[in-house]
């Protein structure tokens, strides 16, 4: 459930700020913002899979 929550929050962050507080921001700012969320999603996947294949 924690994993689902993390990705749900990341997805909400993909939608809500760009259509509210970042609505008038520059293309570069939005590119960096969305890319940062992509990096966060990837980093979390990296952490969550650390234990895979190391037991059982």
């Amino acid at each position: 459930m924690r994993q689902a929550m993390v990705y749900a929050i990341l997805l909400l962050l993909m939608y809500i700020p760009p259509y509210t507080m970042l609505k008038a921001s520059s293309p570069l700012a939005l590119l960096l913002y969305w890319t940062a969320l992509g990096i966060a999603g990837l980093a979390y996947a990296w952490v969550e899979t650390r234990g895979w294949g190391k037991s059982g």
């Binding site: 994993q3 689902a4 993390v6 990705y7 749900a8 990341l10 997805l11 993909m14 939608y15 760009p18 259509y19 970042l22 609505k23 008038a24 921001s25 520059s26 293309p27 570069l28 939005l30 590119l31 969305w34 890319t35 969320l37 992509g38 990096i39 999603g41 990837l42 979390y44 996947a45 990296w46 969550e48 899979t49 895979w52 294949g53 190391k54």
Partner: protein, 479 residues
């Protein structure tokens, strides 16, 4: 002529190299359908990650998404990264349990998985028919991408488009049939690397060209802002953003060619590396491709490089990449052009193999009929591509919309829920039925895709109705 000749030489080198890789992979092929379609679950980390990434990322990226970023701005990045983040989430949550159950239960095709979960072969048959119907436009769009790329390289001409489509069909057939998933995965690895290298070269060239025209990257973004591309507005209104992103969010669950890849890693370590390196590939390639589109648009707005594609004309979106290739050096253009072919073939041969496994296993036709079906489907794809229907993005996304109704049944099954198989099968049909109704009532595929019955995007309707049916199916089974 030089441009065409160099293009043909690079393309020939790619085909020869790919065919050599495919033939070399034959020694790993084991007898039986499990060996041919899923490598008996023996793919290592590298092949697992590269085949997942290369199958997922098609010519839509370097043709369609470049054009989208060019025409509509940075919202195209949000659209594609919603897909990546949701896919990573779904893989983290489900891939390990699916991989384990696939080994326990001996799943080969995604339809077989659903039939086993819900205890009914009818579920597999319905799923297979939906796969076949839905993936034809998606895979045809890939062949269309090859045709457009060849025509662009040769400076236009319908005959070159036709040659490109037919060449693509021939290569993907050979690479699928030589050693099944082994030749597909091995050539996917080659093609994935080619896509990354070519994309990087294209971006670096574009940055260098802009700089030599006095336009740095930061200045280019300022030009975009002055051109009115600030924020996600314009084309990317919130309802368009939802219409485009929701079907893609469930791609990893609904598209059989990627679901089947969860059955293939040889151990959990390989599965872990598949998820991780797919994510690295996806993030890098997405940002890279969007940057190419945005910088090309900045060049257009600044009046440099001679790009003349009208960003206001949706029909010209797919011409942005070919127009860049036309002004690039012949060698770079040939390498990027070949990466478009590679991206298409790596996607379509995977789809073909998966559909073949569906015909063989889910429809019960047997391996010979599965292979014959592969050839027939390839012919249908070529026919649709040669008819040049609509433009590439809508064709691709429409497939995801039709497949979307498989998501509730698949996720419920992965979570261990059961249900009445008739209602489960009915839930899977919701997507194609609603898409058909919307197309008839709105009068066009494009209007159907962005339609909002009662103010709610059509994708939400599909998810809601199919989820409701799966929930009711669980109640009936449980009572």
């Amino acid at each position: 002529m030089d441009r065409l000749l160099i293009g043909l030489i690079v393309l020939a080198a790619y085909i020869i190299l790919g065919t050599a890789v495919a033939i070399a992979s034959r020694k790993r092929l084991e007898a039986g359908e499990e060996g041919f379609y899923i490598a008996k679950g023996r793919l290592g980390s590298f092949l697992s990650a590269m085949t997942y990434a290369a199958t997922t990322y098609s010519s839509f990226m370097v043709v369609g998404l470049v054009g989208f970023a060019y025409s509509t701005g940075v919202g195209a990045l949000g659209f594609e990264l919603v897909y990546l983040i949701s896919t990573l989430g779904l893989l983290i949550i489900f891939s390990r349990r699916v991989w384990r159950r696939a080994r326990e239960r001996g799943w080969v095709s995604p339809g077989e998985m659903l039939a086993d979960i819900y205890g009914s072969r009818m579920v597999a048959v319905v799923a297979s028919i939906i796969f076949l119907v839905s993936l034809v436009p998606y895979a045809s769009a890939q062949l269309k991408g090859i045709g457009e790329a060849v025509a662009g390289l040769a400076g236009g001409g319908d005959q070159y488009y036709t040659i490109g489509v037919l060449l693509g069909v021939a290569v993907m057939l050979v690479w699928s049939l030589v050693a099944g998933i082994w030749s597909v995965a091995a050539t996917d690895a080659l093609q994935g690397l080619w896509m990354l290298i070519a994309g990087t070269m294209l971006l670096l060239w574009l940055v260098a060209e802009l700089r030599s025209s006095g336009l740095g990257v930061v200045e280019a973004f300022r030009v975009l802002e002055e051109a009115g591309l600030a924020g996600p507005g314009g084309f990317w209104s919130i309802h368009i953003f939802l219409a485009f992103t929701i079907p893609w969010m469930f791609f990893a669950v609904t598209n059989p060619q990627v679901v089947q890849r969860l059955f293939m890693p040889r151990d959990e370590g390989s599965l872990r590396n598949m998820v991780r390196w797919f994510g690295v590939f996806g993030l890098y390639y997405t940002v890279l491709v969007v940057l190419v589109g945005l910088l090309a648009r900045a060049a257009y707005e600044a009046g440099v490089l001679g790009i003349s594609v009208d960003p206001a004309d949706p029909a010209q979106r797919d011409r942005v990449t070919p127009s860049l290739l036309y002004i690039a050096s012949p060698l770079l253009a040939s390498i990027v052009f070949t990466s478009i072919v590679a991206a298409s073939i790596s996607t379509v041969d995977s789809i073909l193999l998966t559909l073949s496994s569906s015909i063989s296993r889910d429809l019960g036709a047997g391996r010979r009929a599965g292979l014959a079906g592969l050839i027939v489907v390839a012919g249908v794809l070529a026919g649709v591509a040669l008819a040049r229907l609509q433009y590439i993005v809508l064709l691709s996304v429409l497939s995801s919309l039709m497949l979307l109704s498989l998501a509730p049944a698949t996720i419920a099954g992965w979570l261990g829920r059961r249900g009445d198989p008739r209602l489960v099968a009915a839930s899977m049909l919701v997507g194609p039925v609603i898409v058909a109704i919307a197309t008839v009532t709105t009068g066009s595929v494009k209007a159907a895709f962005v339609s909002r019955p009662m103010g709610i995007p059509i994708s939400i309707w599909i998810l809601a109705v199919s989820t409701l049916l799966v929930l009711v199916a669980g109640r009936i089974r449980g009572s």
